[in-house]
Structure formats: structure tokens, C-alpha cells
């Protein structure tokens, strides 16, 4: 099981690797203004997120305001090229919806939406698996590479290396949408306290507590 294939979220000992932010893709070309999301875009993102994490007997993505969060995160944290992929994805959502159902995404039935999103998920997964095969050096390769690059490693060629990485390593747009949905939902107050469990001030540590099917800890 390679967790990077789906989410590239947390590597156990090496911290988070979100898209945007300080991931390998995060070369800095800020300063360009981001294209704002329209309220229709946010509604669309809400519906998309709700399809991924629907309300059941516990709250869903819309209850947690995931659409607004996604729009903010993409606007502020994504690089321009990552944002482009995301905008392209939003347009694709419409195009795919019309091609398959002759309907706007918002007009799809719940079943149709789930069907479309499942298909996109499969495509995104295949894209990520292909990338993972290309990108992942073995530890031995990484150790050899670090001795070789060290000779001429300056801050400048380090950042140009990051730039080169970013061009070919852009993820599938649906990977972005799914990652942001999960991240936005489970780190929200609703997700963390009503779907997961959260204890603000535990006051003690028990490293061997019995477990009987309760929700997971939020952090």
C-alpha cells in the first residue's frame, strides 16, 4: 500500500506533503493575482465535496463549509500552475457532465454525480500511480543522488530543481479536489469534533487504552 498514490498527505516521520504549501511543487512564483472563485464555483465545489463525504447520521462536507475552504486554499496556497490545473478541473467537471449526461453538474442526480466522481477518482488514481512509479527513487538511489548533488548545490540551483519538478509532477485535478475535501472536512470543527473525536486538553497520556470502535482522534 503506497499512501502517496492517493493523497500525498502525511509521511509518518517526515511531516505533511500537501499540494500547494511547502510540498516539492511549492516553488515561489507568487505575486500573480489569483482568479477569484464565483459563488457558483463554490456551490459546485460544495456539491462535489458532499458527494465525496456525504451527510449520513453524521455531518457531511457541506456542513463543514468545505466548498469555501477549497476556494480559499486554492487561491492562497496553490502555485499559479497548480491553480490552473484546479480551474481546468472545474471546467472539466462541467464538460464531463454534459458529455455523459447532457446536464450541468449541478443538475445531476445524486446517483449520476456519484458515478461521475467515481470515474474521475479512478482516473486520478491511475495518474498518481503512474507518477509514483516515475518519481519515487529507492533509498539507495536517493543516497547516491545526494552525494552527487552536494558538490554544486547552491540555494539557486536547488530552487530551479524544484521548478523542474513542478512542471512534470502536477497532480490530476481530481486528486486536488479529493485531497482538499478530506483535509478541509476532517480539520474543520464539525469534522474533528462530530465525525472524529477531539479532546482539547487531555491532561494525561495513556499509551495502552482499550479500543471499542469509537471514532478516531482528530489529531
Amino acid at each position: 500500500m503506497n499512501r502517496r498514490e492517493l493523497l500525498k498527505l502525511i509521511a509518518l516521520t517526515t511531516g505533511t506533503a500537501m499540494i500547494g504549501g511547502k510540498s516539492l511543487f511549492a516553488f515561489s512564483d507568487a505575486g500573480q493575482t489569483s482568479q477569484p472563485f464565483s459563488s457558483q464555483d463554490v456551490e459546485r465545489l460544495d456539491e462535489l465535496a458532499e458527494t465525496i463525504l456525504p451527510r449520513t447520521d453524521t455531518p457531511g462536507a457541506k456542513d463543514a463549509g468545505v466548498g469555501v475552504f477549497m476556494a480559499l486554499f486554492v487561491s492562497d496556497c496553490y502555485t499559479p500552475s497548480e491553480r490552473e490545473v484546479f480551474y481546468f478541473g472545474l471546467a472539466q467537471l462541467e464538460a464531463r457532465s454534459r458529455a455523459s449526461y447532457q446536464l450541468d453538474f449541478m443538475a445531476l442526480s445524486g446517483e449520476q454525480r456519484l458515478e461521475l466522481i467515481t470515474e474521475l477518482d479512478r482516473e486520478a488514481m491511475a495518474h498518481a500511480q503512474q507518477q509514483a512509479r516515475r518519481e519515487q527513487p529507492t533509498p539507495a538511489e536517493a543516497l547516491t543522488a545526494e552525494t552527487q548533488t552536494a558538490q554544486n548545490q547552491t540555494a539557486e540551483n536547488q530552487s530551479s530543481q524544484e521548478h523542474a519538478d513542478s512542471e512534470e509532477a502536477l497532480p490530476h485535478y481530481f486528486t486536488m479536489m479529493k485531497q482538499l475535501t478530506l483535509f478541509g472536512f476532517f480539520t474543520s470543527e464539525v469534522g474533528a469534533t462530530e465525525v472524529l473525536r477531539y479532546e482539547a486538553v487531555p491532561g494525561r497520556y495513556d499509551g495502552c487504552a482499550p479500543y471499542n470502535g469509537e471514532p478516531a482522534w482528530a489529531t
Partner: protein, 562 residues
């Protein structure tokens, strides 16, 4: 006495500067504590201490604006929303990277004592002897016995949680009860002990988080929120603010002056003594002089050396302490991001309660006794086991209600760790002044030229392979080695550049941390380190500082410093 005169001046208010201020004021000296950045008052100014993940607009991830403002910090985890305002402004404080060097600086009262990892280990007798035995660099001028009572002393005050293990390579200390291991880690410890014939040990990490209250210091024991980096409202981890500063203030002998950039030590060449320091007010840009009988430089490794390089340049072109030819040289860090992780089967009826600011530690086992690898020295591992959360893949679940349900339950257990390796002192690894680049106050900046050498690269191969072997022995499945992005500095353990030694021709400081060329100037931060060991260094700075203060005050009484 003019009002700009003090008995002692301490430059820098981080871990070692806080200790210098505490010890000097408690011995009755009037002390001026200078800090280049703003003040942060204990509890009152910990603005994020009670925030939750959802209180941050981007849930603690950096924005492109933050990335643009912090081109160095962005290279690793310290760039996040929660600690914004706790790192040096990179535009106002540039430096030159001849080779990539990740310098993560905390310019405020408390310095990186508010941001540190809190892992607290003693150097071992071996660490103090290795340079001499192997003919590397120069010999430490002290031995473990010289510092051991001072480790006792600072551990008792700071409060270190840990266990007595009886290991030569990692001396025991004066510990509070440990922060517990979880059940997977407990069993991993037993399996490792068995698999390696009692030669390798998985133990509780030793951390400066108190597990019993210290009412005399107004500190409450750890509440297991794991939010140390936001400033602890309980004072449960050791920082300048929670521990040393209140002690110094309580004496009535302390004057704290924030926004005070020390531009040089004022050197009296006739007396061959420092007479004080020159300060640039960071806000007004005005210059002030403060005089004192003794000066402690605790400005953080590189900035302490920067001050020395800027001082007494009319006597020595390279600055105070440069007569040795070693000022600015022998930069060390701990190289890391080589480790492994894997799955642990079973234990699905077990979970944990609370969030530990700690994990486990595996002390150095390489090149111990008669073993000789293709490199010298060694490394230790820091790690933890935990159950996976919502951020995992569930292969059979893609989208929809089942996915939400699946991710709301804890997943299986994982165990992982990363090595922290010793870096040898090498004369070629150096910092120097670059007068062509100036900071916001018109001061020349540091140029950094540091790289790993063959010994570290050879060690890193073992750091990965041994991690895999250990975790497999511990019961891990699908264990995979990993090598993450590392550049010198990323360990945030800068050491060296003004090393201690026995000979003024090859060292900057003597065995009591006095600058050979100005005996009333003491350097007790990371700059003084003659070798780096592989253990986290802060506890050693505390001990060396307390030791040096006692020596300084006795010498002052005898009139030996004037």
C-alpha cells in the same frame, strides 16, 4: 555607577542566554539581558496557544504569500500559520548561501527556546574523548566528569522526563517520571532487546516537558496537548519564558532590553579585556554603549560568531577570537531525514488517550566498543508508533458514505523513526562576513559555506539500513527505508565556529568558555562545541553555561577578569 553600566551583559535570550541571566543574577550580579527582537511575555503573548486546527484560515498550511516572504523557512516544516511571527524576518535579515544552508532563526525574547524539540540528552564520556582518540580536529578541553554535576544541576531545574537506563553511551540523569511509551512501542522495545542481544535499546525519549508540577517555578505538568510550539500556557516545557527568565526577574537584578542588536563587543586593547558592547536599537536605529565587567555571548551559534568577527577588528582583521585561525570554522549540524517506517499488525483493540510531545529514542549503537564501520561516530533515532487517521488510503473505498465511515475510524498501527547523525568538525565548513550584502541596519551579513563530507554520507547508508533492520526486528511489516530532503542547517542544531580547546593557537575558547584573547568574554551557546555528538545539544549548552557562570563569578571575586 553610570546608568549604562552593569556587572554583566548577556547577549541573547534563548536557551543558553536565559541560563546565563538566571545564574548571574542569582549570584547577585546586576545583569543587562540584550535581545535583538521583540519581547514575548509568558502566556500573555502566546496568541495561538488555545487555537484549534480550524481556527487557522488555511488550517496551518503556508500560503504563497508566506512562501514568498520566507524563501528559506519554506524548505521545511517550520513554515506554518501557527508559528508565524516566531521566525526571523528574512528580508530584513538576509544571509549568503555559498552552498545551500537552511538557517531557521528565532529573533525574539526566548529565541528558539520557544520553538525547540525539547529532546534533552547528555553527551557521553566517549563524545568528549573521540576527537583525541581518532585524531580529528582538536581535543575537547573538558571531560564528562567536568560537566556531569552541571548536567545534574540543570536537569533538576529545567525538568527532564526520562528513564534510568544504565547505558554508557547515553548517561542517565536527574529525571522526572517519563512520558509513557504506547503498547506497540513497549513491545518493540522488548523485541529489539532480544533480537540484538541487549546491544540496542528502544527507550523513552528524554524531553524537557515536566511530568510533575513545579509549583516553586509556577509551572504545571504537561497536559498532553502537543502544542508546545505555540507557547505553553501551563509552562510545562522548559523555555526562557517559563523557567529561567522568571527566576532572573525574581532576583531584582535583571534588566531586559528587547530590540537591541549587538553590533560589537567593545574591546580595550590595553587591558586586553572587553569593556562592554555596542547596541543598535532595532526600532530607532540609534547606537548605544553599555559597559560591564563580564560579557556572555549567547546570541545563537552563528550570530555569536558574527559579533566576534565584528569586534576588535582594529587589533585583529578577522575579529575577536580570530587569532586562532578557527573563528567561523568547523560548522556542524546533525544530519537527519534517514530512517524507515512500516506497518505493525494487530493491537487493534488498543488505542491511546492524549497527545504526547515525545516518542521513543534509540541511542547510538554504531562504533561502540570494538566495532569499526567505514565511518567514525554514530547516530541515534527518534520515532513513534501510532494508529493511522483520516489521512490514509483505504484501498477498497473511493468516495461516498463508506469512505467517510471508514476514515472516521482509526486505521492500523504504523511505526517510524529518523536518525540524527553526528557531523564531524571540518575546517572547510565555515561562515564568514560578506560586506557586500547588508541587513536592514546596514550591518554586513554572514556568508555560509557548509557541506556534508564522506564520513556523513557513509553514515547515512547505515542510518537507513539499520532503521529497516531495527523496525523489522521490532515486528514491523512492509518496512521501507526513507531518505528525505536534508541540507546542512535543517537539523536546527548549528554548532561550532568558536570552539573550545586547550591551545589558543587552535581554539577560540578555553576550558571555561572564555575567549582566549579577552578573558572576560564568555561564549556558552552552540558556537563553543568542539564536536557535535549525535544527541540534541541544548542540554549541554545549559550545563556549560551554568558551569561557566560559576567560574566567571569566582574569577570576578578574585579580580582575575579585570
Amino acid at each position: 555607577m553610570p546608568d549604562n553600566h552593569y556587572d554583566a551583559i548577556v547577549v541573547g535570550s534563548g536557551i543558553s542566554g536565559g541560563w546565563a541571566a538566571k545564574e548571574l543574577t542569582e549570584k547577585g550580579l546586576k545583569v543587562l539581558l540584550l535581545e535583538r527582537g521583540r519581547n514575548i511575555e509568558h502566556v500573555k503573548d502566546y496568541h495561538n496557544a488555545d487555537k484549534e486546527a480550524w481556527d487557522y484560515p488555511h488550517r496551518n498550511e503556508p500560503t504563497q504569500e508566506m512562501i514568498a516572504k520566507f524563501p528559506v523557512l519554506k524548505r521545511d516544516y517550520p513554515l506554518n500559520e501557527a508559528t508565524m511571527g516566531m521566525w526571523a524576518d528574512e528580508q530584513a535579515n538576509p544571509y549568503v548561501e555559498e552552498k545551500r544552508f537552511d538557517w531557521f532563526r528565532g529573533y525574539h525574547v526566548g529565541g528558539r527556546s520557544l520553538l525547540w524539540g525539547r529532546q534533552s540528552y547528555r553527551l557521553s564520556p566517549t563524545d568528549f574523548e573521540a576527537n583525541q582518540r581518532e585524531g580529528i580536529a582538536i581535543d575537547w578541553p573538558i571531560r564528562y566528569e567536568d560537566i556531569a554535576p552541571w548536567y545534574d544541576y540543570v536537569e533538576r531545574f529545567a525538568g527532564i522526563a526520562g528513564t534510568q537506563e544504565g547505558l554508557d553511551i547515553l548517561p542517565d540523569g536527574e529525571f522526572l517520571p517519563p512520558i509513557p511509551l504506547n503498547c506497540v512501542e513497549e513491545d518493540a522495545a522488548k523485541r529489539i532487546k532480544e533480537a540484538f542481544g541487549g546491544q540496542r535499546h528502544l527507550i523513552h525519549s528524554r524531553v524537557a516537558n515536566i511530568t510533575q508540577p513545579k509549583p516553586e517555578q509556577n509551572r504545571v505538568n504537561c497536559q498532553y496537548r502537543n502544542k508546545c510550539w505555540l507557547g505553553c500556557p501551563y509552562g510545562a516545557y522548559f523555555s526562557t519564558q517559563s523557567a529561567t527568565l522568571p527566576a532572573a526577574v525574581a532576583t531584582g537584578n535583571l534588566t531586559l532590553r528587547p530590540f537591541s542588536i549587538v553590533s560589537q563587543v567593545l574591546y580595550d586593547k590595553d587591558r586586553q579585556r572587553a569593556r562592554g558592547v555596542e547596541v543598535i536599537d532595532a526600532e530607532t536605529h540609534e547606537t548605544h554603549e553599555y559597559t560591564a565587567d563580564v560579557v556572555f555571548l549567547n546570541a545563537s551559534t552563528f550570530n555569536t560568531t558574527w559579533i566576534l568577527m565584528n569586534s576588535a577588528t582594529d587589533v585583529w582583521e578577522g575579529g575577536l577570537g580570530s587569532s586562532s585561525g578557527e573563528l567561523g570554522h568547523n560548522v556542524m549540524d546533525h544530519h537527519f531525514r534517514c530512517g524507515a517506517s512500516g506497518d505493525v499488525e494487530g493491537y487493534l483493540d488498543k488505542y491511546y488517550f492524549g497527545r504526547r510531545p515525545a516518542g521513543f529514542y534509540i541511542p547510538r549503537f554504531r562504533n561502540v566498543g570494538d566495532e569499526q564501520r567505514n565511518y567514525v561516530r554514530g547516530f541515534g533515532y527518534q520515532g513513534a508508533a501510532s494508529r493511522q487517521g483520516w489521512d490514509r488510503e483505504i484501498a477498497e473505498l473511493n468516495v461516498g458514505a463508506d469512505l467517510k465511515q471508514g476514515l472516521s475510524q482509526p486505521g492500523g498501527w504504523r511505526i517510524g523513526m529518523t536518525g540524527f547523525g553526528e557531523m564531524l568538525p571540518d575546517h572547510d565548513n565555515r561562515i564568514s562576513l560578506d560586506h557586500s550584502v547588508r541587513d536592514k541596519w546596514g550591518l554586513p551579513v554572514l556568508s555560509i559555506n557548509v557541506e556534508l563530507k564522506q564520513n556523513e554520507y557513509d553514515m547515512r547508508r547505515d542510518m537507513v539500513q539499520d532503521a529497516v533492520d531495527l523496525l523489522e526486528a521490532a515486528g514491523g511489516k512492509n518496512v521501507k527505508g526513507d531518505v528525505g530532503d536534508y541540507a546542512p542547517g535543517m537539523g536546527i542544531h548549528e554548532m561550532g565556529t568558536a570552539r573550545m580547546g586547550r591551545d589558543p593557537k587552535t581554539s577560540v575558547l578555553n576550558s571555561h568558555n572564555q575567549v582566549w584573547d579577552a578573558p572576560n568574554v564568555f561564549v556558552t551557546d552552540g558556537a563553543c562545541m568542539t564536536s557535535s555528538s549525535c544527541v540534541n545539544p541544548s542540554l549541554t549548552y545549559m550545563a556549560l553555561t551554568a558551569r561557566a557562570v560559576e567560574y566567571a563569578v569566582e574569577a570576578l571575586k578574585r579580580g582575575n577578569l579585570s
